[in-house]
Symmetry: C2
Subunit: 135 residues, 2 copies
DNA sequence: TAAATTTGTAACATATTTTATTACAGTATG
DNA sequence: CATACTGTAATAAAATATGTTACAAATTTA
């Protein structure tokens, strides 16, 4: 999962923030996202690895937020979902004997790195709580 | 082609800028990118549609820049390659009966739209000439 | 303690998107 | 007229993303 990872993760977290008292089941969350529960559990596994949520197995089990939503920024979520802003690279290694081919990827990386800084600055200013309170 | 479109297009344009006197063949360009020549011709077709390059068929034919590299911005290239900055959406339509599901995509779009503005502003300040002169 | 429910995870299947290849008609050059 | 290009369609292959099934392990509650 790459393309929907950030969107799915933020959807999960928004739901958890809206229902702070319960352990929510992956089945229920999956119903809101309209996604297979196994995929929800996979994203939750990622969130757990970053100690953003905790979950409980067994009957009446599920997942809930383990951090303060006001202190979790979209930038952190962005980074947890392994996303990087950019406009892509050509798939194959360019020709190293061509002065352009030899250096293009480095120059693209520099360009994208600047983009990331701008986007990160934007996302750092938005907390999960901010995002969730829009709903 | 999506992921490499911007990178490939800017690679093509940089080459054309470096060799302003010739009509470059798609075969030659493909050799620098290490890409199939047919795919190069497809990207060139897109550039032609935007009147950024012109090309000549037949023997000794090829493609060359049709605009002033100092006046072509990376933002224009970005837009020509149909790219939009964002962090993706879940593939399926979320549940419209859930207050979160119902509105998540709109909120994500708002967020991404802000990103686009920032990135566009950055790219608008860089011309093809600027980019090419780094090499 | 047994039944029910839920997570965690692996293995596999399907769908979608990207990239590559083949083929060939049309066009200009020398 | 032979050669070397573009333009484009059709198809194939590869890569990536998403979906499904299955089941062990954990926990609750009756």
């Amino acid at each position: 999962m790459i393309s929907g990872k950030f969107a799915i993760t933020i959807h999960i977290l928004t739901l958890l923030h809206k229902f702070p008292n319960d352990y929510m089941s992956s089945e229920y969350i999956a119903g809101s996202i309209n996604l297979n529960p196994v995929l929800v559990r996979k994203e939750i596994a990622n969130l757990k690895a970053h100690h953003i949520v905790e979950s409980k197995e067994g009957k009446n089990g599920g997942t809930k937020l383990a951090v303060n939503a006001a202190e979790l920024t979209l930038k952190q979520i962005f980074e947890m979902t392994f996303e990087t802003i950019g406009l892509g690279f050509a798939k194959n290694q360019p020709n190293p004997d061509c002065p352009v081919g030899k250096n293009i990827n480095q120059h693209l990386e520099n360009l994208y790195s600047e983009m990331n800084q701008k986007v990160s600055a934007q996302l750092e200013g938005i907390s999960l709580e901010d995002f969730s309170n829009q709903f």
